[in-house]
């Protein structure tokens, strides 16, 4: 699979060729013994340039949000990982303190990003000063406006605070982090020209529209950092969730990480790393390229969600006897069920006409829409109506 393969192609390839291939078991066969009690050996590292910042970053960085002990962060730095992410709001500031304690002596060798969700310029300024103090540093490498879902949420005065901080040398580069609305936000950021980096949720379950938004951002010079690379992981899933078993099988998380870092528009990733074992596992993503075995693991996961996931092929256009825009409504459901963005899904649903919003698919004796990819359309549409209406 070339790195330019679209998610739609990957899905169709994976569901056919992937299932026919034997499990290569490359990842498990190459598993390293955890080295927590031994000196850290330098890992095989892979670097990219983070857009216009010019920073040379390892393609696997470290999300420190749920790291259990500072020694894990220190060891990651010793092994050559050079991008570390935290936020003002994580654990009421304790996470920034942990990052500072872990990286103190190595500050100049690493890139530290933090974020603020402050709603106004006064709070934002206050957060910056607090972050500098808690991180025990004179400068923050990348300072993100935290969790923005649309251009409307990024007021000019917030941008002014970022720009002033940059002029004063308190931050080196500006950024925005986003979990939703990337299709609008990233092109807007690309045009705005005042941001250096975007931190966005991105993983193998996402569609071509996300790839296009990222491509637009990257071509405009924005450095793109990916988070939620494990598709949200398994923490929020119940053990009886069909995806739980797939994502907890050996090599699944690593395959998901490798899928992201093979994308040329992604400069680095920040998977949350809890412990030494996970650090060792994630670093393998830089040493061993995405393989047919990884493809099989991910396609097996996608197979498990096949009845749920619309491929936006358009085959169902006009097929609903009630005139519902089936593909659109399934996409809204994917925002909620697939990406964890309930608010966005509901917002889009409520934009439908009153006539369409009033339809209840459960009332139809038989559904006239037959998905060629096996999506259980009537069930999924009924769920969308139950969830959003």
């Amino acid at each position: 699979m070339s790195s330019n393969t679209s998610r739609r192609e990957f899905l169709s390839n994976g569901l056919s060729a992937g299932l026919a291939l034997p499990v290569l078991g490359a990842t498990s066969a190459m598993a390293l013994e955890p080295q927590s009690a031994k000196p850290a050996a330098p890992a095989k590292l892979d670097y990219r340039i983070l857009g216009r910042t010019g920073l040379k970053v390892t393609t696997v960085g470290m999300g420190c949000m749920i790291t259990s002990d500072p020694s894990v962060i220190t060891r990651a730095a010793d092994m050559g990982v050079n991008y570390f992410d935290t936020a003002r709001g994580y654990q009421q500031g304790n996470n920034e303190r942990m990052v500072a304690a872990a990286l103190g002596a190595r500050r100049k060798q690493v890139i530290i990003s933090t974020k603020s969700h402050a709603p106004n310029k006064e709070e934002l300024h206050k957060h910056l000063e607090t972050s500098l103090r808690e991180l025990n540093t004179d400068y923050i490498d990348i300072w993100y406006l935290h969790g923005k879902g649309s251009p409307d949420e990024i007021a000019d005065d917030l941008i002014e605070v970022q720009q002033k901080a940059k002029q004063q040398g308190k931050i080196r580069f500006t950024g925005v982090s986003t979990h939703s609305g990337q299709q609008n936000l990233l092109p807007w950021m690309a045009k705005k020209g005042v941001f250096d980096v975007v931190l966005t949720g991105y993983n193998f379950t996402m569609g071509d529209d996300m790839d296009k938004a990222i491509e637009t951002a990257a071509h405009a010079g924005l450095g793109v950092v990916a988070m939620k690379v494990m598709a949200g992981g398994t923490r929020r899933m119940k053990p009886d969730d069909p995806a739980y078993k797939k994502l907890t099988q050996e090599g699944a998380m690593l395959a998901a990480l490798k899928w992201v870092i093979k994308k040329p528009n992604i400069a680095t990733t920040i998977p949350s790393i809890t412990d030494m074992d996970q650090l060792d596992e994630n670093l393998k993503a830089m040493a061993v390229p995405f393989s047919a075995g990884d493809e099989k693991i991910l396609s097996a996961h996608l197979e498990s969600i096949r009845p749920l996931y619309c491929r936006m092929c358009g085959e169902c256009d006009g097929a609903c006897q009630k005139g519902l825009p089936v593909a659109d409504m399934l996409r809204f459901l994917t925002y909620a069920d697939g990406y964890g963005q309930f608010a966005l899904g509901r917002e889009r649903f409520l934009e439908l006409s009153a006539e369409h919003k009033a339809v209840r698919c459960g009332d139809c004796a038989e559904c006239t829409v037959k998905c060629p990819h096996g999506v259980h359309v009537q069930n999924r549409m009924a769920r969308a109506q139950e969830l959003f209406a």
Binding site: P34, K38, Q91, M227, R236, T274, D275, D277, Q278, F342
Partner: protein, 280 residues
């Protein structure tokens, strides 16, 4: 049959009342009104609200959250009421979020009041109150205290901290946290308390049974090259490691405990012996 139906009704009413008790509103201080409806979040959509910080809640054992925005003049505040799986999880989340430099206030199992924020845990509930004041430097500690106390009064459940906290010696103690997974950064040590001291850290990991604790101990020892046995509890070893420095781990029944990050292994063993004596 009538008795069973009556009993069932009583149970349902009790459950309903328990739910009603945990409702939140803004009328806890004069002049404060709701700025919108109460919003509800589950593990499935907590990311919508908390972004990446959601993982922190989920790792401790999160069930659901109710949140409300309140307004008074130019000041706004947000109350997040998290229901956790149990009281230990609620206290654990509190320990993760508390500022170790500030004292613990006597609210529920423990709380902290700051000029524009407050946090506390009571029973299986963890509460965060965050204000955005019109005057950023304003000290609204009294207001935060009023809101925290008012909410705590409505919440059912335990008001004493977990027993395990008493096992850690107080001398030179900085803070104690519940680590929800991978104590000391080691996946083998699943969940436990870590006490930070002026020098080094102590830990107590709670396994479900002595047999599983013994199994973990065996695997743990294999990870530390050059470890030597120590005479503490049911079994113990001490070692020197790059990131954990001088370390001593012992097993006492179903507990795995010890000291790490001390200058040498012998010092860790000496302190571990004292800790073992405090664990029942």
């Amino acid at each position: 049959m009538k008795k069973i139906a009556g009993l069932l009704l009583t149970v349902l009413l009790a459950v309903g009342m328990a739910r009603a008790q945990v409702s939140i509103d803004c009328h806890l201080a004069p002049g404060w009104e709701a700025a919108g409806p109460v919003r509800q979040y589950s593990a499935e959509n907590l990311y919508d609200y908390k972004d990446g910080a959601a993982d922190g809640y989920l790792s401790y054992g999160f069930a659901r959250m109710s949140t409300i925005d309140c307004k008074s003049g130019g000041d706004t505040l947000t109350i997040d009421l998290s229901e956790m799986n149990d009281a230990d999880a609620a206290y654990g989340l509190f320990t993760a979020n508390r500022d170790a430099k500030l004292p613990i206030a006597p609210i529920g199992m423990g709380g902290q009041i700051q000029p524009q924020s407050a946090i506390f845990a009571k029973g299986k509930y963890y509460v965060e109150i965050a204000e955005v004041a019109a005057t950023p430097e304003a000290d609204h500690s009294a207001l935060m205290q009023a809101f925290a106390a008012g909410i705590a009064q409505r919440l059912p459940g335990r008001e004493s901290a977990p027993e395990a906290l008493q096992w850690f010696p107080n001398e030179n103690l900085d803070s104690i946290r519940l680590i929800p997974e991978s104590v000391l950064g080691l996946r083998l040590l699943k969940r436990g308390y870590v006490a930070k001291y002026k020098q080094g850290q102590a830990f107590v990991v709670l396994e479900s049974a002595p047999e599983s604790a013994a199994e973990v101990m065996k695997k743990l020892r294999e990870r530390f090259d050059g470890s030597t046995p120590a005479q503490i509890g049911d079994e113990a070893f001490q070692a020197k490691a790059q990131y954990l420095d001088g370390i001593c781990v012992f097993r006492k029944g179903r507990f795995l405990a010890g000291y790490a990050n001390l200058p040498d292994a012998q010092q860790a063993a000496t302190l571990a012996a004292k800790l073992a004596a405090r664990i029942p």
